[in-house]
Every structure is written in structure tokens, then in C-alpha cells.
Symmetry: C2
Subunit: 215 residues, 2 copies
């Protein structure tokens, strides 16, 4: 059991705003290219424009929003080049995460990831569910590396990934292939086979990019 007595970290309002906005962008409530009207958003969140703007600045720093002076903030739209760059960055982070996992307790980590793959296999037939579990797999992969920096950066790219999926209404072709790819990857981690993990990850990312870009 975990202790109930722990530092009670109250999140700041800008941080909450940033999270909510990130979710809205991820799930397509704020579409690529859309402008974020301050007055309207402030009303919807029930805060004044000050804290709202502070939250939006965070997403600007993350690269999820772009600022045009005296015009406002807009959701980035993911051109093919942007998608390629995003996956380049994701690959960099996940490779580093995998490398650190393999240098540590890779067996426990592998087991956890295999459990997620099982859930993915069970959800086969429901493309949306498979997609969610796919993302959960990669999120967990990075978390298991216990690196604050890798995790923080990865969160941004996961948002962008979700954005792409929603924007393109990606038809998850051949979900059995996807389940297989993830299982192989998890098994390689379970076995601590660093080089294999690395190759699989890179191939996996390449697949994803081509799937999204040549849709």
C-alpha cells in the first residue's frame, strides 16, 4: 500500500489550463490552424485572461501553439514535414528511454509492456481502442525509463501524435500487424536485447511516418 501522507502538490492554475488545452488539442476539440480566442476560452474555463494566457504560453513553448503578434495564438497544423520531424524527435526520445530501460530492470519493464500488448490484442477489431492502447504503450515505455526530461518532452509529442490521428481519421490498417510489432518490441526489451530493440523501434517509427504521410 502506498502512503497517504505525501507532499500534497497543488497544481497552479496555468498548469491546469495547459493540461486542459493539451487534451483539447489532442482530441481534436481544437483543430489544427484554429485560433484560440482568449475571451471565449477564459469564459469557458471560468478563469480570467491572465492565468489563461500563462497556460497558453506553456503550449507555445512546447510548440503546440504558434504566436502571431497582435493576432493571437493558433494551433499548429501538421504538414508532412512536421509529422516527419515529430517522429524524428519521438524516435530520439523512445530510443533513449529503451536504452535506459535495458540498462536497468528490463525484465520487469518488458513484462509490463507485454501486458499492455495483451490488452491491445484483446481490443483487436476496435481500431480506436487499439490506437489508444498503442499510445499507452509508448507512454509507458518512456515512463519506465524514469527520466523526467524524456517524459516531459514525450508528452508533447504524444499530443501531436493524437492530433494527427484525429486529423487524418487514420484507418488503422491491419491491426494484427501492429499488435505483432509491439509484441516483438516488448519481447526484445524483456530479453534485454539492446540492439534488437533499437532496430525494432526505428523500424516501427518509420512505419508510422509512412503510414501517416502517404495516407
Amino acid at each position: 500500500m502506498t502512503s497517504f501522507i505525501e507532499p500534497l502538490a497543488q497544481e497552479s492554475t496555468p498548469s491546469i489550463v495547459a493540461d486542459k488545452l493539451r487534451q483539447a488539442i489532442a482530441h481534436g476539440e481544437l483543430k489544427p490552424g484554429a485560433q484560440l480566442g482568449e475571451a471565449e476560452l477564459a469564459r469557458k474555463f471560468g478563469v480570467s485572461r491572465g492565468p489563461l494566457r500563462e497556460g497558453m504560453q506553456r503550449l507555445t513553448q512546447e510548440g503546440l501553439l504558434v504566436s502571431i503578434r497582435n493576432r493571437g495564438l493558433f494551433v499548429i497544423d501538421m504538414t508532412p514535414d512536421e509529422i516527419r520531424d515529430m517522429y524524428l524527435a519521438r524516435e530520439a526520445i523512445e530510443r533513449a528511454a529503451a536504452r535506459k530501460i535495458v540498462a536497468g530492470d528490463y525484465e520487469a519493464a518488458g513484462d509490463e509492456l507485454l501486458a499492455i500488448v495483451d490488452k491491445m490484442a484483446a481490443a483487436e477489431g476496435d481500431p480506436a481502442a487499439v490506437g489508444e492502447i498503442d499510445i499507452a504503450f509508448h507512454e509507458r515505455l518512456v515512463e519506465l525509463a524514469h527520466s523526467p526530461r524524456l517524459s516531459r518532452m514525450h508528452k508533447t509529442f504524444i499530443t501531436e501524435t493524437r492530433m494527427c490521428i484525429h486529423a487524418l481519421e487514420e484507418t488503422y490498417s491491419a491491426s494484427e500487424v501492429r499488435v505483432g510489432e509491439h509484441r516483438t518490441l516488448a519481447q526484445a526489451i524483456r530479453a534485454g536485447d539492446h540492439l534488437h530493440v533499437d532496430d525494432l523501434l526505428m523500424a516501427h517509427m518509420d512505419d508510422a511516418v509512412t503510414r501517416l504521410v502517404n495516407r
Copy 2:
């Protein structure tokens, strides 16, 4: 010659504030653990607290500042664990950058980097200068990959790197070794030898970490 007529991108005030703060942190004007008093900083920058706070939120998102509710924002202090994590992230980014460079025009990139190494060799004897050129080398390495995301993330870690150097007053032992390491790396890039580049980069980062942590 480059055209003079180009979209004149006026930076927003929060963005300028963020840059200035980043520099202040990098160069030790704001020391690790120090609190950023809003009223005082706003006065010094000549802006009101609103834009200042927005700029500070950006650095919070970057992880350079930590927020404690109702207490303020503080500069992170780099524990040995933090340093290790930072170099893990830097390594992830620079490896990805190098990989992309080698997949492109690695000869031009290698030449550019070798030129920087020459400058470093010329500055030998002046540890501070060598340190600056060292950082410039890595900055350019990432820029040459032409990846907006890698560059953006790397900027944060360069700031943290500078922070460490200033905090620890690092005595750059054996600068001829450092020049050599960078030259070998640049030559490997010039030759397009991906595997060698990868190995050299990882070794280089490991060296840096142990140098900083076991000071």
C-alpha cells in the same frame, strides 16, 4: 546575398523575457535555487508583471524553473541525478541529430564542425573560451540537422549545461583531450560513418557526465 524583404517576425514580449531569463540562468546571474521575485524582475526588465509571468511560465514548461504555489518560481538546482538525466536527454537529441546529418549532406556539415574544432584548438590555454566553443560545437551539430523540435529541446539543455559549468566552476582538465574528442567526432561525421559517430557521441557524453558528477 539574401533578400532584405522577408516576413518581419516581431517577437512577442513573453518570448523576449524568456530568452533573457534563459541567458541569466545560463550565465549564473540567477543561481540555482534562487527565487525569481516578480516585482523586482518586472522593474529590471521595464515591463509589468503580466508579460513577465508569461515568460516565466515558458521556462517552467522547459523545466528550468520550478513552481511552488503561492511561493513563487525558483531556478532548479542541478543535483547529480539531474545532471545525469540532462545528459541522457542531450545524448538522445544529439544522436538523433547526428543520424539525420549523416543521412544527408554530411560532408558539408562535417567541414563546418571541423572549422569549429579548429577554433577550439586555437583557443587552447583559455579554458573559458574552449568551453564556449565546445557548446557552440554541439549547438551547431543540432542545428545542422534542421529539425525544429530537436533544436528547441536542445536549447533548454544547453542552458542547463552552461548552468552546471558556472555552478561548478568546472576546471577544464586536459583541453587537448577535449579538442581531440571533438575533432574525431567531426571527422567521423565528415566521413559519414554513422556507427562510429554514434559510439563517439555516447562516449563523449559519458565523459562529460562523469567529469561533472565526480568533480
